[in-house]
């Protein structure tokens, strides 16, 4: 992720030490200066995100990374950055919570990431990588989408993905789209009228209403344009597992095992968590008889699955918080216990 950021032209990083993501700032502390960028170890998470606010306003591709408790602290700054429509990339290598929790992997910050987290009506583009290569690729894309939409992008990873080692192809960076010129950044007002980057709208009285309308319009556009999802063996599946990130990847193992046993099981793994890829779930609700949500949290992601599938099929749940993770064999066992009942959809199990 850190190397992808450098290759994507990130020239400013500020962060504060927290496990399990210390490898990122440690790497960037030497790599960024080598690439002509700036690394600052901030005095706090709050300062780090505000440094990003400044560096992004000054035109640099900017990034910060942290883990759950630290990301909570950053929420103030994230709200300002979203409100001021500045691009940046924020990585959350999630760990167990609430509170100090533990340093095992978790997906407990889903709501915080996709529903807001800080104050006010704003949205982050949220990405949920499941593989090291995907983390690398998405990090590059994150910088593009941030610039393209002038919006903060969060990479919602977890402590397992943050710590595993996998072969990685260090592909070169090429922008996905022609990026718009940064005609809003602060460079000193030589030869032009001064610019102001702000989130305060006192005048006129409905100025903030208009600003919010504008933001919402942008969010609708992003929802319309951006959607990434892996669908695996869903075409003929009776049971569809919905899971993202690490639990999505583990669920894929369960699907393979189930298929070898002749069970018609498929997987939908959203990669963009906001915008949430609704269409595959709408389709799944027509073809499958049941869904199973697997998440490393206590019932957050399932809400979006239910909304996207409009509760058209029963959705069962397998998840726990606090640093727990599922094994593919556990998921398989649950899938085996779920009786498909296509003719009369019902939520009861035949035990």
């Amino acid at each position: 992720m850190a190397e992808a950021a450098v290759r994507a032209g990130c020239t400013f990083f500020a962060g504060y030490p927290i496990t399990p993501q210390n490898e990122v700032p440690e790497y960037l502390s030497w790599r960024l200066p080598q690439a002509g960028g700036v690394f600052v170890q901030a005095e706090s998470e709050v300062a780090a995100i505000n440094m990003i606010f400044g560096s992004s306003a000054a035109g640099a591709r900017s990034m910060t990374s942290s883990s759950s408790p630290g990301v909570s602290l950053k929420q103030e700054g994230i709200s300002y950055i979203a409100g001021a429509e500045l691009p940046c990339v924020i990585a959350n290598v999630q760990r167990g919570g609430p509170g100090l929790g533990n340093i095992r992997a978790s997906q407990g910050d889903y709501f915080q990431a996709v529903k807001g987290g800080g104050h006010g009506d704003y949205k982050l583009i949220v990405l949920g990588p499941a593989y090291v290569q995907e983390l690398y690729d998405l990090t590059m894309r994150a910088f593009d989408w941030a610039d393209y939409y002038r919006n903060p992008v969060m990479i919602l990873s977890d402590g397992i993905l943050g710590q595993i080692a996998e072969p990685l192809e260090l592909t070169p960076y090429t922008p996905i789209v022609k990026l718009p010129p940064k005609d809003y950044i602060l460079t000193g007002c030589a030869g032009r009228t001064p610019r102001v980057v702000k989130t305060l709208f006192l005048n006129p009285a409905d100025g903030l209403v208009h600003h919010n309308d504008h933001l919402q319009e942008k969010y609708r556009r992003i929802e319309h344009e951006l959607s990434l999802c892996e669908e695996y063996e869903t075409a003929d599946a009776d049971i569809i597992i919905a899971a993202y990130g690490m639990s999505g990847r583990i669920a894929k193992g369960a699907v393979r095992k189930a298929r070898r046993k002749g069970l018609k099981v498929g997987l939908i793994r959203p990669i963009t968590l906001w915008p949430f890829p609704k269409e595959p779930f709408v389709r799944a609700a027509r073809t499958a008889s049941k869904m199973l949500v697997v998440e490393m949290s206590c019932g957050q992601f399932i809400e979006d699955v239910k909304l996207a599938s409009e509760c058209a099929v029963p959705v069962e749940f397998f998840g726990k918080g606090g640093g727990w993770y599922p094994m593919d064999t556990d998921i398989l066992e649950i899938v085996e216990s779920m009786q498909p009942c296509r003719s009369a959809p019902c939520a009861t199990r035949k035990d």
Binding site: V38, E43, V46, S55, A58, G77, Y80, L186, P194
Partner: protein
């Protein structure tokens, strides 16, 4: 013959500040200095949260409005990305010495090459006169009706003294805008604080004792006397660091 005109760095705008407030004087001094040094087109200012939050409407330079107390962190981000620009923060006492204490101390300690204008009027102005970190002992506020210190509030924080211990600071001076002589001294200090940045010398801060007649519930004349007779005793004027 010289005429008294508006500096280029100030827009033709009527400010929202109360009669007798020191912000107008401080704004004008900063603007004059920016004009004089010829740096308007390469200056980036950061606005605080507090009475000066709308200063981006008054200053004719690129500006960013920051979250409460975070201006030194934001300024760090800007200056590190564009080291050839002149970056300043303009902060009140609640912003700089309460909610933003960590950002202030650490930006100073890193020796960020920025200029900090610290307006100390010993009260929270915009929110209606609550106790500030620099409210002096015995001073009544809306949250210390019996005067500061009666109920375990502690004493005022002296920021220049505090920061003078940090190796990263280059220049620290406390001035006032309560007499013509003080205004001239403030102008000299602020000019020096900007010159230091141009010369790449590091963190420079000017703490300006200023008036808040409205929230002190004093007349404009009595407010000047409060600065001269009371605040200056607790916050002695002078240079605390110059290297």
């Amino acid at each position: 013959m010289a005429t008294f005109t508006r500096p280029d760095t100030l827009k033709d705008q009527i400010t929202h500040y109360c009669p007798g407030c020191g912000h107008g004087i401080a704004h004008r001094i900063v603007a004059e200095v920016i004009d004089e040094l010829g740096i308007r087109e390469k200056t980036i200012g950061t606005a605080p949260v507090g009475c000066a939050v709308l200063m981006y409407d008054y200053f004719n330079v690129d500006m960013i409005e920051c979250a409460h107390g975070r201006a030194p962190a934001v300024a760090t981000g800007i200056k590190r990305v564009q080291p050839d620009k002149i970056v300043f923060t303009y902060q009140g006492d609640g912003d700089l010495a309460a909610i933003g204490t960590a950002e202030t101390i650490h930006a100073a300690n890193r020796g960020e090459n920025i200029t900090v204008i610290f307006i100390n009027n010993a009260i929270y102005g915009m929110t209606g006169g609550q106790m500030a970190p620099t409210t002096i002992c015995g001073q009544p506020t809306t949250t210390t009706p019996d005067g500061r210190g009666a109920h375990g509030e502690g004493g005022p924080i002296r920021v220049c003294e505090l920061l003078s211990n940090l190796d990263g600071t280059c220049y620290l001076e406390r001035t006032a805008v309560s007499t013509p002589k003080d205004v001239l001294a403030t102008r000299r200090a602020i000019k020096k604080a900007f010159e230091n940045q141009i010369a790449g010398k590091g963190f420079s801060m000017v703490e300006v004792l200023s008036m808040c007649p409205t929230d002190w519930k004093l007349s404009t004349q009595k407010s000047l006397e409060f600065v001269n007779n009371d605040l200056k005793k607790v916050f002695p004027l002078g240079v605390y660091k110059d290297r």
